[in-house]
C-alpha cells in the first residue's frame, strides 16, 4: 500500500509517496538523497542512522517513513549554519573523534540530543548515553573528548 506523506527535512518541506513498509532511513537516503545518515546494522543496534525527529534522536532504521508524517526531521546535513560547521561537528573534526567516519553522523546527532538534557555532561554520562552508538575504530576516547569540547563550545 502506498501513501503520500509530507514532512520537514532540514527545514525544507518535502513530500513523497512511500510504501507502508518503507523505513525512514530508506526515505531519507534513497528518496530524499541525504546519504549522510548511514546504515550500519539494519536492526536498530549501531546508531549509524540516528537523526532528529521533532527535536529528539531516533534510529531511522527503526521507524517507518509513514511515522514521520508531519514531523520535523533533521539529519547530519541539517545542522551546519550558513555554511559553517556546527560547533559539535567542528569538535569531532579537531579532536579526532573519528577514523573511518561511518559512525560519526550518528554520534553527532546522538550527542546533540544528550546536550539538550545535560548541557555539561561528564565522561560517565556521555559514555552511558552513547551505548546505542557503536564505533569500531576509535575506542571511543576521542569521541568522548570531542563531545565535551563540542559542549563547551556550544555553551559559549
Amino acid at each position: 500500500m502506498k501513501s503520500q506523506i509530507s514532512l520537514q527535512l532540514n527545514g525544507d518541506k518535502v513530500s513523497a509517496e512511500v510504501e507502508s513498509r518503507t523505513l525512514l532511513v530508506e526515505l531519507i537516503r534513497q528518496r530524499l538523497g541525504k546519504t549522510g545518515t548511514h546504515i550500519g546494522c539494519d536492526t536498530s543496534q549501531c546508531g549509524a542512522c540516528v537523526v532528529h525527529m521533532n527535536g529528539r534522536s531516533v534510529k531511522s532504521c527503526t521507524l517507518l517513513a509513514v511515522q514521520a508524517q508531519g514531523a520535523d526531521i533533521v539529519t547530519i546535513e541539517g545542522i551546519a549554519e550558513n555554511g559553517e560547521l556546527h560547533p559539535m561537528q567542528q569538535a569531532f573534526r579537531e579532536h579526532h573523534g573519528l577514523q573511518c567516519g561511518f559512525c560519526t553522523p550518528g554520534m553527532i546527532m546522538s550527542a546533540l540530543d544528550l546536550l539538550k538534557l545535560h548541557p555539561d555532561p561528564d565522561d560517565r554520562e556521555i559514555r552511558e548515553w552513547l551505548e546505542g552508538n557503536l564505533c569500531r575504530c576509535t575506542g571511543y576516547q576521542n569521541i568522548v573528548r570531542s563531545i565535551k569540547a563540542g559542549a563547551r563550545a556550544m555553551r559559549r
Binding site: 548511514h38 573534526r93 577514523q99 552513547l130
Partner: protein, 778 residues
Amino acid sequence: MDAKAKAAAGARRGAAGSAVPHDSAHLHVSGEATYTDDILEPRGLLHLAVGMSQKAHARIRQLDLSAVRSAPGVVAVMTADDIPGENNCGPVVKDDPILAPGLVQYVGQALFVVAAKSVTQARKAVRLARVDYEELEAILDPLQALAAGSFVLPTETIRRGDSRSRIAKAANRLNGRLTLGGQDQFYLEGQIAMAMPREDGDLFIYSSTQHPGEVQHLAAAAIGRQSKDVVVECRRMGGAFGGKESQPALIACIAGLMANQTGKPCKLRLDRDDDMIMTGKRHDFVIDYEVGFDKDGRIEGIEFTFASRCGMSADLSGAINDRTMFHCDNAYFLGDVSIVSHRCKTHTVSNTAFRGFGGPQGMFAIECVVDDIARRLGKDPLDVRRHNYYGIGERDVTQYLQKVEDNLLHEITDILEKTSGYRDRVRSIREFNAGNPLLKRGIALTPVKFGISFTATHLNQAGALVHIYTDGSVHLNHGGTEMGQGLFTKVAQVVADELQIDIDRIKITASDTSKVPNASATAASSGSDLNGKAAQAAARKIKKRLIRFAAEHFSVGEGEVEFVNNEVRIGKKSIAFEKLIHLAWFARTSLSATGFYRTPKINYDRSTFSGRPFFYFAYGAAVSEVIIDTLTGEYRVLRADILHDCGKSLNPAIDRGQIEGGFVQGVGWLTSEELWWNDKGELRTHAPSTYKIPTSSDIPLEFNVTMLESTANREKTIYRSKAVGEPPLMLGLSVFQALRDAIHSVDGYGRLPELRAPATPEAVLDAVALQRNGEVRL
C-alpha cells in the same frame, strides 16, 4: 627533512609530524563523505541479493529457481552455470567459488544471485528458491578436522635445537591446552560493491576494498576478460580491519558478473546478518603446549601445536598461520623450539585476515604460558616476563633466525612499570583480594613485539602517482586504500613535506587500479611505510626536474635552489611555488611522475621458515587492572596504561587513535565478542544483538595512552616512523591476563587459572568455579 626546513615547517599546514585532522574529517562530520552506498545511483540500477546455502556440507541435488525468476521485480537470476569465466574469488589458491557449483561447504555460501528493481524485491525473491540438498558429513571445528586429517594447506613446522630433550632435562615443566575464539571484523560499513558496464564489455567497479587490484584481477577473470578491461575504484571504506582484504572480491565479482550478464549497473550491499554469516573472520584456535623452564622461570625449551579453523578454503590462511608461528615468541627468547601449525579445513566460512593476521593468536599462547610459569613458581608474572625478554646483544635471535636488532622492550617496560605504579598496585590488589570474598581484582603488564612487513616478500612493494598542475596544485594517488586509519592523510603529509607546500594544495584521490597498477592490499600495517615512500619517490622525481629547470632558467647552481614553505629560494631571491611550476610548465618540463618503493633488507626462505621476514619490529606494552564479581562472572576494566612505540610519528593524533582503537578492539576479541556456531554449523551470533563489540561504556574508566618519545626507527622508513595499524590490538592481551590474575586469587593464588577466550562473564564464572571447587558447576 633538513634542520632548516624543519624549523620552517611550523609555518606550513600539514607538515609531517603534525597532528593534522584526518583529510576527510570535514566530510565525515558533515555527512558529505561518500561511501560506496552513497554514490549517486546510475540510471536503471539493479539491486542484488544472494541466495545462501542453508547446509554446512551438501551436494545440491536440485536448485529450483522458477519461483525466484517469476517473483515481482526480478530482472535476472544467476547460478554457477552462468559464469562465463573463472568461478573463483580465492586470493591465493583457486578453491573459493564465487557461486557454489553443485557442492556447498558452509552455511551461508553463495549459491545464486537475484537482480531486481529494488533491494526488497531482490531479498524477497531469494527466499522463494527450492533447494534439494543431499547432506554430507560436516566437520565443524579444528579438533574434528585434526581427527579426520582435514586440512586446507599442509601442516608447517619450525624447529630450533632439540626441544624434546631440553624440556625433559628442564627443572620444571608445564603443559596444557588453550582455546581461543575468533572475531568478526564488524566494520560499521558492511560489504558492498557497485558495478557498471562500460563500452566494449568493460566494467567499472566501485568496491569497498583494501585490495582494489585483486578485485580487478578476479572480476576480470570471472567475466572471462583481462585485467585491462576492468577498473576498480575505492575512495574510502567505513572500516575494514582485514575483513575487506580478500572478502570484497566475492561481493564485487557477483556485482560485476551480474552487470556483465544484464548490461545494467548492479549494486550488492549485504545486510549485517548476511555479512556476518557469509564472510570470513579471525581464526579461532586450539593450542597445545609443553614448556620446560628453570627455577627462575626462564624458558629452556617449548613445543607448540597450533590448530586453527580455516574454514572451507585456503583464502589467506597460509600467511595468517605463518604469522602465528612467527609471533608465538612475542617478546621472549624461547630456547629450543618446535612449532607445529595445522591449517584445518572445516565446513564453516573461510576465515580470513583481521588486524594482527594470526600474530595475536600466537602472542596469546605465549602470554598464557609465561603467565602460568610465573604462577607455578609463585613469582610476579612481570618478573618472569622480563626474565624471558629478548636480550640486547645476547639471546636475541628469534625462532625463525631473525636477529632482534631494535629491542625497545626493556626501555618501554621500565618506563611503564613506573608510570603505571605497577608494583604498588600489585600489593594493594593482593590486600584488597585478601579482604574481599566476592569481588576480586587482578592486574597484568604485557608487552608487544610485532614484526612489520608482509611475510610474503613479493608483496612489499608500492607505487604512487603525483601530478602538479600549472596553478601549483597537486594530485596525489597511490596504491594504498583508506579505511579510516589515516593513510591518505599521512601520505599527503609526506608529499607536502617533500614539496614544502601546504597540505591543502594536495588533492587526495581515490585508490584506482588505472592509476597505480598491481598494488598490494593495504594490510600488514604497511600502508604508510610503503605508500609514503612511493609517494616520496614520485615527489622527489618532479622536484629534481624542477631544481634542474630553476638552476638553468635563473643561471644558478642546483645547490642554490631550495624549496621552503610554499616558496622556492633560487640564489638570493625567492619565488612562489606556483610561479616556479608555471615557469617550468612553460619551458616544457614534465610535472607528473610515478614513484615506486620496495622494502629493503627483507628476505626469507619459506621452505625452512628462516631469514628476515620483517624489516623491523614495533613495540609497546600495556598494564590493565580489572575487577570481577565472583558471583556473576561480570567484570570491569578499571584502568589501562599504555606505552607504545610509533617511531617518529608522521601524525601523533592519528597514531594515538590507532593505539586507542586497537587496544579496545583487542579487548573485545578476548572478552565480549563471542562467535557461536551450533552443531549444524550455523553461526548464531550474526548481529550486534548477540555479538557484542565494545561499547563506549565498556572502555576502561581510566585510560592513559602515551607514545614513546622521540625514538626514531632504526631502519630508514619514511621519516623514521613506524607502522601502527596492527600492533596496538595486542595490547588488549593485558586485560585477559589481568582477568586470569583476578581468578587466580579466588583460591588464594593456588591452582593455575583456566580461562578460555573470549572471557565472557560465563567463561569467567566457569573459571572461578574451577578455581574454587576444582570443577565447573553447571
